[in-house]
Symmetry: C3
Subunit: 275 residues, 3 copies
């Protein structure tokens, strides 16, 4: 049996995620299921897509179920996709799957899920996880072929996720906050290569400007390796474990400290060393 | 080994649920355990019972452990129940188990759990999950008979869950909000059949009145299939994935929008089509 | 394969815990992983250590991974420890592991984890769970020897967890709140033996004084077995399931009621029976 991973915006308070896992286990008894998270903010496709993309290389090759599906019940396609590295992805065709699929070498095959193939003639128009996606994941977990699950779709036609690009010009990098983690660490779409292009290297200080809802704030921040490279309570900039520029407070919560969140704009430029 | 499902109000911050699962795995090493949820509001028996009932048909036949137990340490019975369809249910006899047991064909056998049968002479008077319920679940998971776990009890004597009934009269349906999910969708005790009895069908508009804490509010709402059948930000009425009348906001949170929660009263009546 | 347990302050919203579990499963496919909790407050080593210590005796003997690691990226040691009872513990050497290891008979062997042993030449300085601790847990789960994971360390040198001691004098017990659980139950560092030393026994009333942030409050509280021994909404004192003096409200939240939390001081003294 193939192991299954599962990401959604179902939360853990209601039974939604458990019902999907129950269906997977009815088809593939006891197959290992790894919950990536069910804490994606309701309907936040981008957050779900980025979380899946950050996690995918660390989880076993198998069946990767993802459900953040504000278009449930409409004619958005429900897909199963095989990636070039042999992983299967299942979810709505709304951009949620594409960054992870790309990391896995791109889509080599795809089908549009057809619940009638497993006798589901009237799937719920509000809970496709239960009636469409989980049955497909369970079937793939026990070795079904993609073609058993629906009609062939164009693997090149997978809906892309639109992400803001970071811009480097004249020693300034302009980016966006893509993620605030549980600790309040603020992660951006700026990579280490972008910083190098702007002439910023480890050990430098960075002048950070953040803006959200029209309020701008500037901070001179040391660019270091890890939290404890600055004193407790102080801001730092670092390359996080996913390779992105991030801002943190050692022992604190940078998002609260800076008053920013997902979607805030952020610029970084070289700065004279801290006084 | 039989698979185990587990529902409780323990939350996931403390180690309570893990301790119970550890005990199950000491008795039944590695048996699959499916957490239905541990996010039931503390002591909310009705919410736990309804969640278990909504989930039960989708999870594998096995041992179904449920602990929402405000009467822990009193003489309320601790039960193991076999249902007509072969499922085993374990939990306090306070109404928590009965809707799910009924869905599974009713109780065919029951025992009152006796911890002395497994050498537990002094069970904690505040953590029966650990000392009474989990050991029984582990024993059943590895194939114990009900009779190994305690003295026979009357299967017909299971405490019922009292639920408010919905009333249909003169084209008006009066019900109650039983559940608000993570998305803020508001689910009621009104079924599609109740709506049909009141002359309300799909495509109609419904006049919804909600009342909580003396504040009444009326909204004319389209009765549709799914969220995207109305514009983003607009209220809709629909039959949810459990077959109940629910109110939602497409892309939003109906409970916040309407200022209501569990226990609010709700009436539905046919309305002229939306202007 | 050895079963794995996992405790952290990663939360369940981000993918951190799942990434670690994914790595464990890449090395030890499908090995049972029991999440003790990922809800430890960020960086709260004491809370993590006490939670692990309370849970350890109830979970299967195996590999016990724990990550609450505010010193990540510094030269604090990353350890794998074998306890006298055969359990393996993995985590940072900051006090997190020591109470649980002590319960398991003390450390009989230890190594300082060396990621180069598994080809990780440049571990992330901010996510040791992924690059250091989880690979070690996976290796031990499939039967690696401690010595495969790093250079020998002094098992007697494990960093201890400093805990406030409770003081008994002249019929008064002075302690500290160590834990507030999901229900708002307030658990202390005072044991039943401490109460006996102060002349307090079951059935007595206790005069409780709590102080936090300079605000003191006194309550006369019955010392009983379980919640339902007092009326709904009333305070009670009891010995909790971990053997510590705890304060609760039957059907309510004692921490909110008393306005206290972790770290509050608490004194208990015998009191005339309640009027």
């Amino acid at each position: 049996m193939r192991p299954v991973t599962f990401l959604s915006d179902y939360g853990l308070q209601d039974e939604f995620a458990a019902v999907c896992k129950g269906i997977i286990w009815q088809l593939a008894p006891g197959t290992p299921i790894l919950d990536i998270t069910h804490g994606i903010a309701p309907g936040n496709i981008r957050s779900g897509a980025l979380t899946l993309a950050r996690a995918i290389q660390y989880v076993p090759v198998g069946v990767h179920l993802a459900v953040v599906d504000p278009g449930v019940g409409t004619d958005r396609a429900a897909l199963a996709v095989e990636a070039a590295d042999g992983r299967f992805f299942i979810g709505p065709d709304n951009g949620l799957l594409s960054p992870a699929v790309q990391i896995c070498g791109g889509a080599s095959a795809a089908v549009r899920l057809d619940p009638e193939r497993w006798g589901m003639t009237d799937p719920s128009p509000t809970f496709a996880g239960r009636d469409v996606f989980a049955p497909a994941a369970g079937a793939l977990a026990v070795g079904a072929d993609l073609g058993d699950l629906g009609d062939t779709a164009d693997p090149a036609g997978l809906t892309a996720l639109l992400l803001p690009l970071c811009q480097v010009e004249a020693g300034i990098v302009r980016g966006v906050v893509l993620w605030v983690d549980r600790y309040g660490n603020v992660s951006t779409n700026i990579t280490e290569a972008d910083l190098t292009d702007a002439g910023i290297g480890g050990g430098d200080a960075i002048l950070i400007s953040t803006a959200i809802a029209g309020r701008t704030r500037r901070e001179r921040v040391p660019f270091v390796r890890t939290f404890a490279d600055v004193e407790t309570g102080r801001l730092l900039a670092f390359v996080d474990s996913a390779g992105q520029l991030a801002i943190a407070v050692n022992g604190g919560d940078a998002a609260s400290e800076l008053g920013i969140g997902e979607g805030a704009t952020i610029t970084a430029e070289p700065s004279p060393a801290l006084l």
